[in-house]
């Protein structure tokens, strides 16, 4: 006879008064608008604004430089995509090396620790210079001299050190009981890693890895110092020729178009991940 009443019925929703329902939204919109106009007034009224506008926000210059910057941006994305795949695997290998137990694996563990300490401790810019100019100058036969190749190697080396630590934190976050359970089932060290630890660890760290991917997307621009004509370098070339900085705004816009969807994707994955965890504990 009696039905269970849902916690939030539609009828109750209608009961919400105007000020509880709409006022927060109105205040948000109003305050954002007010802040925007105050900032705008600040900027536009600045004494130097007309010059800044001409030198940084010149629409015709932005359009003029767009094809070249877009072409350069293609190089950014190409290096980024390849590096990303290599980093995903190489960092996992490093993390696995570091997590191995047993005296026989000591050399791999030591290698992984030294690698991560060294490459995470050096500024990426230095690595790019050392790899990009230093190694080709050795003129070792058989090694490629391409600056894109060595630049990408530098970024991969540096970012794999970070990603390896992320993987490791994921592996550490898998409960010890899982290892014990795997051992009880008779799995050896490799099998435990493969079937019990890694699948859970990787799922746990995917949001952090995506974060690194966004960072890498922008840091690829560092390779411009090796003479690679990426988006930033094409923009700088235009600036150097004409003293007009609007080209940098074009490059900035392209980077935003690429990174904002990545950031939203990261948010989405993080949200899904949190929901998954909450369900599990129920």
């Amino acid at each position: 006879m009696s039905k269970v009443r849902p916690l939030f019925s539609k009828r109750m929703g209608r009961k919400l008064r105007f000020r509880d329902r709409y006022l927060p939204t109105i205040i948000s919109v109003l305050s954002v608008t007010v802040v925007f106009f105050i900032l705008r007034a600040l900027v536009v009224n600045a004494e130097q604004w007309p010059r800044i506008e001409a030198q940084f926000f010149n629409i015709s210059a932005m359009i003029e430089v767009f094809p070249k910057v877009l072409n350069g941006f293609g190089i950014n994305m190409y290096i980024w995509a390849i590096s990303l795949v290599v980093i995903a695997f190489w960092a996992l290998i490093l993390a696995v090396f570091r997590s191995l137990h047993g005296p026989w694996f000591a050399p791999l563990r030591v290698f992984s620790i030294i690698y991560i300490d060294l490459l995470r401790g050096l500024p990426s810019l230095l690595l790019v210079l050392l790899f990009g100019f230093g190694i080709p100058a050795l003129q070792i036969p058989g090694l490629p001299q391409s600056s894109i190749f060595w630049g990408a190697i530098a970024m991969i080396s540096s970012y794999s050190a970070y990603a390896a630590e992320v993987y490791r934190s994921g592996m550490d976050s898998v409960h010890d009981g899982q290892r014990a359970a795997a051992k009880a089932l008779g799995l050896n060290q490799w099998q435990t890693l493969q079937y019990a630890i890694l699948p859970q660890a990787i799922r746990n760290v995917i949001p952090s890895l995506l974060n690194l991917a966004v960072a890498l997307q922008k840091d690829v621009a560092l390779l411009s110092i090796l003479g690679i004509r990426d988006a930033v370098r094409e923009a700088q070339i235009y600036t150097a020729r004409t003293f007009n900085y609007s080209s940098l705004i074009t490059a900035a816009a392209l980077f935003l178009i690429a990174t904002i969807p990545m950031a939203r994707l990261t948010d989405y994955v993080t949200k899904k991940d949190r929901e998954r965890r909450l369900q599990r504990t129920e």
């Binding site: 600040l42 001409a54 100019f133 080709p136 690679i228 004509r229 700088q236 600036t239 150097a240």
Partner: protein
């Protein structure tokens, strides 16, 4: 809830008041009277009256300035500045040097110097955002390659186009290579050192650079490289000039001094001393 609204409004109004307060402070009394001190070393329009404050890059390269030491006076550009300062009536110790990057020299805004010089080429495009002095030197361009390079025997632009090129950003070299030699995919480096490093590393085969720099680099810094040829002049490149903040009123006075030392032959002397050309280098003109 209403208390929160009040708080938000209060913060916003504070912000608005502070903004307008700042806005009012920035209004300074304008309109300076012409004084008898204009066009003398005590000209109030100088960055620091009584001193001639000049910016240049860091590092500076020979033979334009020797030993990365502008105040030493050894080198073409700092020699020129000291001759100019003397012509304008400054004592030698009243010349103050500051170091700036390429970008600091061209962005809008108040500068903490009177003008900047470091082989900035004058072009019409650039005049939109800065003011240039008169031309003080118009160099020839030289092709530089390693001693074992295949282009040492190049005779035409077509021969030159066969190899990989690099150039330094901010110079007129890139425009020259792309527009006059019609080379594609030129690598572009941050500074002269990086360009030559790329040459040594085998990542590029050739670059162009002003002949005086080329003579110095191939003789002293990178003996593995040599000058292949001299190239014809680019009509769009008007030569080197000092850069002034757009609208800087002292430019005419500085130009008068520059004209005077050019007329006296001081610039020709400095050219002969630091930038002497080598007559034996072949020219490739088509």
């Amino acid at each position: 809830m209403s208390r929160k609204i009040l708080l938000v409004l209060f913060i916003l109004s504070l912000f608005a008041v502070s903004v307008f307060a700042v806005g009012e402070q920035e209004e300074q009394p304008s309109g300076s009277s012409v004084t008898a001190e204009e066009n003398t070393p005590n000209d109030p329009r100088l960055y620091q009256p009584g001193k001639l404050t000049i910016a240049t890059g860091e590092p500076v390269y020979p033979p334009w300035m020797m030993d990365d030491n502008p105040a030493g006076g050894e080198g073409f550009e700092n020699g020129l500045v000291y001759a100019l300062a003397e012509e304008l009536g400054f004592a030698r110790e009243d010349v103050i040097w500051v170091r700036q990057t390429f970008d600091q020299g061209i962005v809008p805004g108040k500068k903490d110097y009177d003008f900047i010089l470091q082989q900035y080429s004058i072009t019409e495009e650039r005049r939109e955002f800065v003011d240039f002095s008169d031309v003080y030197y118009s160099p020839e361009k030289a092709v530089v390659a390693l001693l074992n390079s295949e282009i040492l025997n190049a005779k035409t632009f077509a021969d030159l186009r066969k190899v990989r090129w690099g150039a330094t950003i901010g110079t007129s070299d890139l425009a020259y290579i792309e527009n006059i030699l019609e080379v594609e995919n030129v690598a572009v480096y941050n500074d002269q050192v990086s360009t030559f490093q790329a040459l040594l590393a085998g990542q590029i085969d050739a670059t162009t650079i002003e002949l005086p720099t080329a003579l110095y680099v191939t003789a002293v810094q990178v003996p593995e490289a040599s000058i292949v040829a001299i190239l014809p002049h680019d009509p769009n490149d008007l030569g080197f000039g000092f850069i002034f903040e757009k609208g800087n009123p002292i430019i005419n006075w500085i130009n008068t001094g520059l004209e005077a030392i050019i007329a006296k032959g001081v610039v020709a002397e400095l050219t002969a001393k630091y930038l002497i050309g080598d007559e034996s280098i072949p020219e490739i003109s088509q």
